[in-house]
Amino acid sequence: MVAMSDWVELNIGPHHPSTHGVLRLKARVEGEMVREVEPVIGYLHRNAEKLCENTFFCDNIIYFDRMDYVGAPGMEVGYLEAAEKLLGVFPPERAVWIRTIMAELSRIASHLIWLAAFGLELGMLTPFFYCFDLRESILTIFVEASGSRLLTNYCSIGGVYQDFNEKITDEVEKFVQDAPKKVEEINSLFIKNDIFISRNKGIGVLDKNVAIEYGVTGHMLRASGVEYDVRKAEPYLAYSKVNFEIPTSTKGDNLARYLVRIEEIRQSIKIISQSIKKLPEGPFFNPKAKKSMMIRLRGDGEVYARTESSKGEFGVYIVGDGGVKPYRVRVRSPSLRNLSVMRELGRNVMIADLVSILGTTDLVFGEIDR
């Protein structure tokens, strides 16, 4: 026995119920207290960046779908922001609004998954099912629009593959009407609960400067007091024409992150309800990128485009060499930066708190490891 015998090295993961996938945390544990945490990643490294170099511009969307798989249309929008600038093929007005609606729907879907998983991590068995029930109505819209539930492959270069028809707009309007009540009901299960508050208030406080140092974005940065949202900072799609607010908080703890997320869901519903009213008539794709033109698009130069995915600032950097395939694709994954700050947050916390901090961080490994 060595002198450090009361330090136990606990290996959490790669298969562990609370790691949202395949994260491995090397934790040095002293009784119930976690002294140090070192995340080990790479268990879902699927070489998407390499494959993107060998595929047509129009086909790369499928790899971006599979990055943040809980909110796939949001990722497609992020890729197309960069790819369309590079190729010089721009979508018509209607497609822009359709993409806005899809991106916001996917943001809600992603947040609901997070809420469900967060509830399970804290030991609440039931909110999971209500979240999935609500999410199912979003997936119905996705199937109706694109034909696939999860990985939609809906947006194409220069527009969208299929138009919104009467039925989809009806579904979206119905969702906008029903969702706020259900969200409030689910929220009340969390926020009114004394144990939930005691598990989250003042836990995992992330300082503003530390957050900026580590490149943290998204809800974690906003909960720490920086009002940074790419949708406002550098409006893309139709976000400059709709009315919404950025929720922030100065507390920086788990509860603040939770509240920011819930408020984001409300704001997204607001955006959707405005967009569906403003949806213009007209063509939904750019004829330059249809049918056999799909695989003949050539791009030169380099473009870095940022979008606000459900996890934070999602950036895509594409370098083209004038061919039909990109020369280099680089993805700025928000979750990777949000995870890297775990080294700071996971110092001298209890095992139970480590789990709840991981829960509010909201990781998706398809995007971290790519």
């Binding site: 595929t55 047509f56 129009c58 086909d59 790369n60 969307i61 499928i62 790899y63 039931t126 209500y130 029930d133 199912e136 199937v143 109706e144 629009a145 694109s146 034909g147 696939s148 990985l151 492959n153 194409s156 593959y161 299929q162 009901e185 009340s188 299960l189 926020i191 009114k192 609960n193 004394d194 144990i195 508050i197 208030k201 607010e245 950025i246 929720p247 922030t248 908080s249 100065t250 507390k251 509860l255 603040a256 509240l259 920011v260 408020e263 049918k291 056999s292 799909m294 695989i295």
Partner: protein, 143 residues
């Protein structure tokens, strides 16, 4: 916009409200669709298994080119078809097909298309469908 933290309340009351909310749900109707007996309505655009109309295929190889992960390969089939002189037809490997619909999108004659059939699971790892098998319904494909 600053989010508001919930104010201080009497302990336990909120938790009891939550318990009542959960209990209330036990009196509601379940939303389950009992799959094998009752099938849910599937939207028109729902896509899963690829089908091929042999008569319409012109053998242009566009689907082979556009397939992101080379699931589609062209294969020679001895078959009389005036539109397809080279006698090449696509076969699809469902072991890698991601149902991305790009082949349907790019096909000039709408010969290759995706359908609602999703009951394709099997106990053997043999998912390479030849052009003839692609044009058959799923039940008749024996592997």
């Amino acid at each position: 916009m600053e989010v508001k933290e919930p104010g201080r309340k009497i302990p336990l009351v909120g938790s009891l409200e939550g318990i009542m909310t959960v209990f209330k749900h036990s009196l509601m109707k379940p939303v389950t669709v009992q799959y094998p007996e009752e099938k849910e309505y599937t939207p028109d655009r729902f896509r899963f298994r690829i089908f091929l109309k042999l008569d319409d295929c012109v053998g242009c190889t566009l689907c082979e080119q556009v397939c992101p992960n080379k699931s589609i390969k062209m294969e020679t089939v001895k078959r009389e078809n005036p539109r397809n002189k080279r006698m090449i037809y696509p076969d699809v490997n469902f072991g890698t097909c991601t149902v991305c619909r790009n082949c349907e999108e790019i096909c000039p004659t709408d010969a290759i298309y995706l359908t609602h059939v999703f009951e394709t699971s099997r106990t053997k790892n043999s998912f390479l469908y030849s052009p003839e098998e692609l044009s058959k319904p799923e039940d008749e494909v024996v592997k």
